[in-house]
């Protein structure tokens, strides 16, 4: 296979990992919303935890994006 073509296919495949981050973020915010609608008074106290979870989950998607970017620009 042409190495340049393989590089681009690999970059596209690496982006599939972001699907997992998408599922995770949807789960995170969905669960927070359903929990905070049940008990709105407790929601404000948990907002830092929500943002921490957001950043930790988002970072995993960024890792796969990083692999794609490395393939595109660095390899």
């Amino acid at each position: 296979m042409d190495p340049v073509a393989a590089k681009y296919i690999g970059a596209g495949l690496a982006c599939l990992g972001m699907a997992g981050a998408g599922i995770g973020l949807g789960n995170l915010f969905g669960q927070f919303l359903s929990g905070s609608l049940r008990n709105p008074s407790a929601a404000d106290g948990q907002r830092p935890t929500l943002l921490l979870g957001f950043a930790l989950t988002e970072a995993l998607g960024i890792f796969s994006l990083l692999i794609a970017l490395l393939l595109l620009f660095a390899v």
């Binding site: 943002l51 930790l56 990083l66 970017l69 620009f73």
Partner: protein, 249 residues
């Protein structure tokens, strides 16, 4: 068109100051921005604490808010006996925060988008945890790797997993910050590049405002990410310090 990775190029601003085994060490744009970051933080802290009074004025309030935010984070994640580490976490938090935000300015350089910088920061954190843990608990610090209340036949496997998870902490801590900054800035540059390539596309240049709007939205997201990643770095640092203080699970 310039490559999206051009913004991360490190260029020497001076001639080589000295050599370490034939590698020239010069004052680079990265070093200049690190100096700028430290200057901003120091000037901020000095001005907000210049004339302390019992009833804080406006400036002093800003400084105290900033400091108490970090102090509360440490108290919540690491416990009361970790309050001695507040200056350490405060220094890390303010350095990462100001470096991230400074990098968002057009034509500036993002210090934290280089893994060597974030790796040095996270190795400092993990080194502090290991040295302090052994200094405080001696060999008892190794209890960190032995979870309590597990059946004996499972224990060897869990110890291996705990050791691996401990060793991967500096990697994940540094790669998280570096990858977020790198990917965010590259995405900004790529969408900005769409604007110029659409403008050159004849009739379809009517679509060029769309990627411009997306660039604005992405800048807002990057602002959030810059603050959030600094916060996450501080929180994870306090969680790891908690392990150094209380190695038993």
């Amino acid at each position: 068109m310039a490559s999206p990775t051009e913004q991360f190029a490190i260029t020497p601003l001076s001639g080589p100051l000295f050599h370490i085994s034939n590698a020239p060490i010069a004052f680079t744009n990265s070093a200049a921005f690190m100096v700028a970051v430290v200057l901003i933080v120091v000037v901020f802290c000095l001005t907000t604490s210049a004339r302390p009074s019992l009833v804080p004025g406006r400036l002093q309030n800003v400084g105290e808010l900033f400091y108490e935010f970090v102090a509360n984070t440490v108290r919540q994640s690491a416990g009361h006996d970790a309050m001695g580490f507040v200056p350490f976490v405060f220094a890390l938090f303010s350095f990462v925060l100001v470096a991230n935000l400074l990098g968002l300015l057009p034509y500036s350089f993002t210090v934290t988008s280089h893994i060597i910088v974030t790796a040095a920061l996270s190795l400092l954190v993990i080194g502090t945890v290991i040295v302090y843990g052994f200094a405080k608990h001696g060999v008892g610090f190794l209890k960190l790797f032995v979870p309590s209340g597990v059946p004996g036949w499972l224990l060897p496997m869990l110890v291996v997993i705990e050791v691996i998870s401990f060793l991967s902490r500096p990697i994940s801590l540094s790669v998280r910050l570096f990858a977020n900054m790198l990917a965010g800035h590259i995405a900004l540059k790529i969408f900005a590049g769409f604007v110029t390539s659409l403008l050159a596309a004849g009739f379809w240049s009517v679509l060029s405002p769309l990627p411009l709007l997306l660039t604005v939205a992405l800048s807002a997201l990057e602002m959030l990410v810059a603050v959030l990643q600094a916060y996450v770095f501080a929180v994870l640092t306090s969680i790891y310090l908690h392990d150094a203080l209380h190695p038993g699970h």
